[in-house]
Amino acid sequence: MSEPIIELHELTKKYGKFTAVDHINLSVQKGEIFGILGPNGAGKSTTILMMLGLTDPTSGTVQVCRINSTRNPIQVREKVGYLPEDVGFYDDMTGIENLLYTARLNRIPEANARTKAEELLERVGLPVDTQKKAGKYSRGMRQRLGLADVLIKQPEVIILDEPTSGIDPAGVQEFMDLIRQLREENGLTVLFSSHHLDQVQQICDRVGLFGGGKLLAEVNVNELQNEEHGLENMYNRYFGGGKSHE
């Protein structure tokens, strides 16, 4: 494989006595879709926040695009798009206005931003010329707008934190197809955090199993593809049977 684009080295985050993330070592290659799989409270979100420099690690280092996220968070955030869990928008602005605001925060010139925003709205399957305020959007539409919002800064890496929670199954399928397309067309690296085993299995190249703040295993999905229920067995081995489908 090519060069690693995300590198975690002995990354640890403690809240008082509680260890949320416990000495994680991980590297993600360029162009990969890497899944972070684990139950709630496994330390997935905290790890993501540290990658973005939104919270400081207690010890260890994070490098994204060869930049230290803790020391130079601004430069990292120029290259990384982050879609938080249950993303929110300014309710009294339309979808495109929200996108343009993000574009301005990323210092994208106004003229480019508008064409780019329209292009992206079309891409994620939202109506372009509408006066509909973002406050009236359904959960699924918000999530699509969130994806457009992440892409407007033309990132090298996108980090999606539970992007499919609260969307209906058909919507989830479209969303996943979209992510796969993006990877193929733009060569994006995608970090996909989820607790849905089937979604991770369907889309990711490699999966990291998180539990109790530790990286329990790294799995290559293609290799497991040959075995029936390969990842599922693995998941069950770590987190107990029967919980794999929520």
Binding site: S45, L49, L52, L54, T55, I74, Q75, R77, E78, V80, G81, Y82, P84, E85, D86, V87, G88, F89, Y90, D91, D92, Y101, T102, R104, L105, N106, R107, P109, E110, A111, G146, D149, K153, D161
Partner: protein, 318 residues
């Protein structure tokens, strides 16, 4: 527009636009404009009676527009003293927690901007709105007054009014910062609004009562020496000065009534031989300098507190 704006001013612009379009601001500006027009009306109807012969403030007729009242409606200054906190609270109480509950906070902070841009822009945006509003109101009052009484303000009167506007902006900025601080500390916008209103009510209603109680308990006996009485008076006054509205009140009355020479008790000895004449602006400013510093310090402390707690806040999605 081809120039690329700095992200900081992008946020400020959005904040200002949000405030100006919001209903709470429209309602507040309506209330404040109406009350100011009301106080201007009472001032204009009573301005003739307010001028007495040998009044040292007589040559500052224009300033009376802001301070005169016949008792039916309070004067412009009293209104700003009372409604200014409400304005500051209204613009700040949901600054951060509403972004958090809408889920926009983590999205905005994951953009390539410094974290303090957001909090600074929230403060600057609201301050621009407050500043332009108070300046407009003061200029409107001056304009109407000019038409009604037909005497233009002198340069010194104009400067005094501008100084009054600046003090008002600092005063409202104090309440703005306090409410921004509460908006970081409390997750619910309603809680932070209530906390702000509680502080405001405490200082505007209960604080005086408590001071009166304390005053009764420690008042010197009728046999006390003059020195004791004076030190008691000074102590009480200093206690009152912990309330920001008291500082504002002292600062503005001194600025708008040039004959005010001291804000503390004066002995007959000190007053003896003094000619009751107005002070020049520089001297008035000297009199209220401690009050001004106090107000600015309180504002800065509140901002520092909110800045500190925002920078250390952990940003999670809603």
């Amino acid at each position: 527009m081809n120039k690329i704006q700095s992200p900081f001013w992008v946020i400020v612009r959005k904040e200002v636009a949000d405030h100006v379009r919001s209903w709470k601001f429209i309602i507040l500006i309506a209330i404040i404009a109406l009350t100011c027009m009301g106080s201007l009306y009472t001032a204009l109807t009573n301005i003739g009676a307010a001028i007495k012969p040998n009044d040292p403030d007589g040559s500052f007729l224009f300033l009376k527009l802001f301070t005169v009242s016949d008792g039916t409606l309070p004067s412009f200054v009293i209104f700003i003293n009372f409604l200014g906190p409400l304005l500051g609270i209204a613009l700040g109480f949901d600054a951060i927690n509403s972004e958090q509950s809408k889920g926009t906070l983590s999205r905005i902070l994951s953009q390539p901007i410094h974290r303090d841009y957001l909090i600074n822009a929230k403060f600057v945006g609201a301050l621009i709105v407050i500043g332009s509003m108070l300046l407009t109101l003061a200029l409107l009052v001056m304009g109407f007054g000019l038409i009604a009484i037909g005497i233009p303000p002198t340069a010194e009167e104009f400067l005094r009014i501008i100084a009054f506007v600046v003090v008002s902006i600092i005063y409202v900025a104090f309440w703005l910062n306090l409410s921004i601080f509460f908006s970081i500390k409390f997750k619910q916008a309603a809680t932070s609004a209530l906390a702000c209103v509680a502080v405001w009510l405490f200082f505007s209603v209960f604080y005086n009562m408590i001071i009166n109680l304390v005053g009764k308990a420690i008042s010197p006996s009728a046999m006390a020496s003059a020195y004791q009485v004076i030190s008691y008076q000074k102590f009480m006054l200093n206690l009152l000065r912990f309330a920001p509205s008291m500082l504002f009140n002292e600062a503005t009355t001194t600025l708008l009534m040039p004959s005010v020479r001291s804000l503390g008790p004066l002995t007959m000895e000190q007053v003896h031989g003094a000619i009751p004449s107005p002070l020049p602006l520089g001297q008035s400013l000297m009199v209220v300098w401690p009050q001004l510093t106090g107000l600015i310090a309180a504002t800065v402390i509140c901002f520092a507190l909110s800045y500190g707690s925002f920078m250390r806040k952990e940003i999670r999605s809603r």
